[in-house]
């Protein structure tokens, strides 16, 4: 692996250079306490030290609101929406975020291959960056280290306030072609950046915990605090549920069909016409969300579908913590097992 050193002050020049390939999307400050992935118009405004953006990077491939077609109510015809193949560089992306995109690829491209998503994912390049975990990050517990390089084309590792640039793919090599502020160097071991939040078990032990956790007391306790707002789903980088709705113009002559992100925590999510609701209670929905992250897809793919970004916990208005739920399930499981042993 090629490795270069890069001074912090030269980062804007690197971003400008990446702009030759295509649009650069990077973290920006939004308000006093929030960050957002936005298109770079002034490379000096890009934020390198951020904890997490409010909305995940997936919004670029699977937009929160997306037009599927325009239709005419006069002749009941419709016109299709073409998603252009645009070269884009996603800059200063954390490892858990990259891993979420790889999981989203699986969700949108396995089985039926969705054209809208695939087109947006074409010609995308990723430049990773290291980060200092805050009290909500726990990605190490789901198998994703800070320096996990999978999916990235380039990776910026912060070393004593400046950076080392790792060249991971040929695409990454061509991104820095002709950029003259890099100096060849050897990769340095960085002093350990510790996670403050942890799931007590290694993630490969979690499927067994969830296998027996379906009727755990934990669910009712969590549900009693949940306000059912769906923020956890809306900020989750691996959630991909959506709804489809028609919008009609004021003249009632035309309109569009669009899809919007949906949330399995909302009470109407599994409700059908006539009023039957197949996940009527918060306790059912809380459990479903966690099983989507740690059991259903995990059983098939062998990986947790949670990447440990900490968003659902950081942005929950009721202060519900996902790693705490998992740790509580582990505790309840151990207790049940302990009693079993006593009985034997």
């Amino acid at each position: 692996m090629e490795c270069f050193s890069l001074l912090r002050k030269d980062i804007p020049a690197l971003i400008d250079h990446l702009g030759v390939f295509g649009q650069v999307i990077a973290p920006h400050r939004k308000g006093d306490a929030s960050y957002s992935f936005e298109t770079v118009t002034d490379s000096s405004k890009v934020v390198l030290d951020y904890n997490r953006t409010l909305l995940p990077l997936k919004k670029n491939f699977f937009p929160p609101v997306e037009k599927l077609m325009d239709f005419s109510l006069k002749d009941l015809s419709y016109t299709t929406v073409e998603v252009p193949l645009e070269p884009k560089v996603f800059f200063a992306v954390h490892s858990y975020e990259m891993q979420s995109i790889l999981r989203l690829d699986h969700s949108m491209l396995s089985g039926n291959v969705e054209s809208n998503y695939l087109n947006r994912r074409q010609k995308s390049r990723f430049v990773g960056i290291s980060f200092i975990p805050d009290e909500f990050h726990f990605s190490e517990s789901v198998g994703i280290t800070i320096e996990e390089l999978e999916g990235f084309d380039l990776y910026l590792n912060e070393v004593e306030d400046d950076f080392q640039v790792y060249v991971i793919t040929k695409k990454g090599r061509s991104l820095i072609q002709g950029f003259n502020k890099l100096r060849t160097t050897e990769p340095e071991i960085v002093a350990e950046r510790k996670f403050k939040t942890k799931i007590r078990y290694h993630y490969n032990r979690l499927p067994r915990v969830f296998q027996y956790a379906y009727h755990a007391d934990v669910w009712a306790e969590v549900a009693s605090r949940c306000v059912g707002c769906g923020s956890c789903n809306l900020t989750c980088p691996t959630c991909f549920c959506f709804d489809v709705n028609d919008e009609v113009t004021v003249t009632a002559e035309s309109g569009m069909r669009e899809r919007t992100w949906d949330s399995c925590m909302l009470v109407t999510f599994a409700q059908v016409a006539g009023g039957e609701n197949f996940r009527e209670h918060t306790v059912n929905r809380t459990r479903h969300r966690l099983y989507r992250k740690f059991k259903y897809i995990t059983d098939e793919e062998g990986l947790p579908w949670c990447v440990g970004c900490g968003r659902c916990t950081a942005f929950c208005p009721a202060g519900i913590s996902l790693p705490e739920i998992v740790n509580d399930l582990i505790r309840e499981d151990e207790k049940a097992r302990h009693h079993q042993r006593v009985l034997v």
Partner: protein, 283 residues
């Protein structure tokens, strides 16, 4: 895990565009249900198998999953029977011959016909559960010699809610159909059975090894019907159910129809009972 490098651009599918189909006939069957015959444009055929569903849409209103009620005809025509119970279906109430309806599909897994060949087919339909099962009934009648007995149990709330009355009259008189019907509440001129659908099961004389049961009805019905069939000693893997869920996209993406980890729109709506028995959210 599926990786983007493994996907070719030409594999991409436009999953959400409907085909505009013309209503060729429409008839209000009961106060709540209307029957439609539709035709695909340009000589296309829907190409469905019994038990599958389509996404039906009206622009400006939206989409909903609806069972296909006809057996595969190969003529480009197919039938739906729709209860007027939601936003879209109440708009469809006004649709008549000549109107255009958006159709996506067919979607999901229907009945495994290859496993039904040569077997006795036991149909158990509650209410509008008859609508999807009619695709199977008519398939069996279209290929009558390929199957054993055809036993149909049909229950409705009241005589006024009975669907497909002309076909029922035909099933009642045919020698090669054993048809039994009941209503929960009788009416003035009703001389038939009164009682829930499970009351029709104990009297059946079934050849257990040769019988395949197909059940569709309101959610509350399944447990009781399955209990009755179990007391007749019918094996789990001889029982098929078709389940209703909010199958919004029909292509295994949107998440609304999940039954635990299973997508009803992809793995169902027809399931073998032994496959969904362990799923807590199924029945």
């Amino acid at each position: 895990m599926k990786r983007i490098e493994d996907v070719k651009l030409h594999e991409a599918q436009d999953l959400y565009y409907p085909t505009m189909c013309q209503v060729t006939q429409a008839r209000q069957l009961t106060e709540m249900e209307k029957w439609y015959e539709l035709e695909m444009p340009d000589g296309q055929d829907l190409g469905h198998s019994p038990g599958q569903f389509v996404e039906v849409s009206a622009f400006g209103i939206g989409e909903a999953p609806i069972s296909i009620s006809s057996s595969p005809s190969g003529t480009g025509r197919f039938e739906l029977c729709i209860r007027q119970i939601g936003t879209l279906t109440n708009v469809l109430k006004k649709y008549e011959a000549g109107d255009l309806i958006g159709i996506r599909g067919p979607f999901g897994k229907g009945y495994p016909i290859e496993k039904f060949l040569g077997k006795d087919i036991l149909i158990i339909a509650g209410g509008i559960g008859l609508v999807p099962l009619r695709s199977l009934i008519n398939y069996v009648l279209d290929h009558r010699r390929d199957f054993g007995r055809l036993i149909i149990l049909y229950g409705a709330k009241t005589p006024a809610e009975l669907l497909f009355k002309e076909e029922i009259a035909d099933w009642t008189t045919r020698d090669d159909v054993e048809f039994y019907m009941t209503v929960d509440q009788g009416a003035e001129n009703w001389t038939g059975n009164i009682g829930v659908i499970t009351t029709l099961i104990p009297g059946l004389d079934l050849n257990l090894n040769a019988t395949m049961a197909a059940i569709t009805g309101p959610p509350v019905m399944y447990k009781f019907v399955i209990m009755s069939l179990k007391s007749k000693q019918l094996a789990d893997d001889h029982i098929y159910v078709s389940l209703e869920r909010r199958m919004k996209c029909g292509v295994g993406k949107c998440g609304h129809c999940q039954i635990n980890g299973v997508y009803c729109c992809q793995d169902g709506p027809v399931f073998n009972y032994s496959a969904i028995k362990p799923l807590e959210e199924a029945l």
